[in-house]
């Protein structure tokens, strides 16, 4: 255990990499997921079908297989990306964007049709009805499912440990290898790190929810 505390900068560095993976892939998945959701709820049926296929395929594929595709199979196509961090973010984005898409879609679908009809009936233009009626309601409904997607992503960054990225899980393996007698303590230390990340995310979500809460 002394080994961990005297090398605590290594622990912090590992968690910094975990958080970098989380932030970068969260941003890219939000962009890609929103785009996919737009495809799925939009009027163009070809895109809607392609979006549905992507989501169903990716959601039923283990994240580990996506990592294998990106890290081991992609170089066979000479599509090699040298940077491990970029590859890790790519795999996490491919996976998470499918879940982001579903969260956003469910948020849009939770707005009842009557709301849109009423806003059209009082003469709102498309942009007005989106801005003042539909999107504010959809955004509120999206927060809880999106938060749980992001929390899952925070935990999923650990899979990168199996592919040579020295983030928190890989670092725990390093410490438990060198200090066989203190394994439970080391495990708890790293678990607390992850719990802090998860709690910060969920506290943020609860805060947003509370702030945007409206009387219904």
């Amino acid at each position: 255990m002394d080994d961990v505390f005297s090398n605590f900068d290594l622990v912090l560095k590992a968690f910094a990499l975990t958080i970098e993976l989380l932030v970068v892939s969260a941003l890219t998945s939000l962009v890609l997921g929103t785009l996919l959701a737009a495809f799925r709820v939009g009027p163009i049926s070809v895109l809607a079908k392609a979006g549905t296929l992507y989501v169903n395929l990716v959601r039923n594929t283990p994240l580990l297989m996506i990592f294998i595709f990106v890290f081991i199979a992609m170089p066979e196509l000479e599509l090699n990306i040298e940077n491990f961090f970029v590859k890790g973010c790519l795999a996490l984005t491919v996976y998470t964007s499918a879940f982001v898409c579903e969260a956003i879609r469910s948020g849009i679908n939770s707005v009842s049709l009557g709301q849109a009809e009423a806003s059209r009936a009082v003469g709102f233009t498309f942009v007005q009805s989106m801005r003042h009626v539909i999107l504010p309601q959809a955004l509120r409904a999206v927060v809880p499912p999106l938060a749980s997607v992001l929390i899952a992503l925070a935990k999923n960054t650990s899979v990168a440990a199996a592919f040579g990225l020295l983030e928190a899980t890989a670092r725990m393996r390093y410490f438990t290898n060198n200090n066989a007698d203190a394994r439970p303590e080391i495990f708890i230390t790293f678990a607390i790190g992850y719990i802090i990340i998860v709690e910060v995310l969920s506290a943020g979500a609860i805060g947003l929810e509370r702030r945007w809460k409206v009387a219904r």
Partner: protein, 279 residues
């Protein structure tokens, strides 16, 4: 098709949509064709690379040592997780604070810790050197994680049973354990079944994490094949198809069961409070 987002399109908009559809279709075809072409140029369609998946001996290995082991791992962990989830879920609803708080802590802990971290810890602490081995390490890790998730599902299911049911049971003089066992749980299980089965899909996917500790299963067989034949892309495609097929079958069963037991009602969703269920 009118939706929240747009009105029924008129003739001009429909014509415009047709143009967009055609453009989108062309773009998608180009992307797929580009991928196939890349595979072709890099010789990924060579017979040697696909040979193991056409050889009966290897197919047997894939199905027996791969798919069957993966399904076994998922099966055992879901069965154990159901027991653990039931115990933790009921304990979380206990009237005694000394039962409620520890179980709340256990549930929150295992829901927030990454499964891979848990599996690595279990394997290198209890699994190696005459320990429980990699298979049971994965099963134990999955049991703890899914048990914590299912505890929430059980709690949500019991809370979804109308209050009057419990009140009526108390009114006719039942004890707490009787109310739970005779009245609440049987009704709750019916509501929870779809959520439980979709948790099985998650468990089935998560068995792949055994890759890290060389546990048996589809990913382990896949690794053996692609290190021997140097064909990671075909192997990844075949293994992924097997996972997707298994998950789709499970989801199909889930829909059937739900329709049979719950009718066309909305599926129960466990409230996500701290940790996400969408893994």
């Amino acid at each position: 098709m009118s939706s929240v987002l747009f009105d029924n399109p008129g003739p001009r908009t429909r014509a415009r949509h047709k143009v967009y559809s055609a453009a989108a279709a062309v773009a998608l075809v180009l992307v797929v064709a580009g991928l196939v072409w890349l595979m072709y140029v890099n010789g990924q369609f060579a017979y040697e690379l696909w040979e193991p998946f056409l050889t009966p001996a290897y197919i047997e290995v894939m199905l027996v040592d791969g798919l069957l082991k993966t399904l076994q791992m998922a099966f055992f962990s879901v069965i154990f997780a159901l027991g653990l989830g039931l115990v933790l879920g009921v304990a979380k609803m206990s009237d005694h604070a000394w039962v409620r708080w520890p179980s709340w802590g256990i549930v929150e802990f295992f829901r927030a810790v990454p499964l891979l971290l848990l599996i690595i810890f279990i394997f290198f602490t209890f699994g190696t050197g005459g320990g429980i081995g990699s298979f049971w390490s994965v099963v134990l890790g999955l049991t703890l994680y899914n048990g914590a998730v299912l505890a929430e599902v059980f709690r949500a299911g019991v809370n979804a049973v109308p209050h009057g049911q419990a009140e009526a049971a108390y009114a006719i003089g039942m004890r707490k354990s009787q109310v739970m066992n005779v009245v609440l749980l049987p009704q709750a299980v019916k509501i929870m079944l779809p959520a439980i089965i979709s948790q099985m899909v998650v468990a089935l996917k998560d068995t792949s994490l055994g890759f890290y500790i060389l546990a048996p299963g589809l990913t382990a067989v896949g690794k053996l094949i692609y290190t021997e034949f140097r064909n990671p892309l075909p192997t990844a495609i075949v293994v992924t198809s097997l996972y997707v097929a298994a998950n789709l079958v499970l989801s199909l069963i889930a829909t059937r069961v739900q329709r049979r037991l719950v009718g066309e009602q909305k599926a129960l969703e466990a409230p996500d409070m701290a940790a996400g269920s969408a893994v």
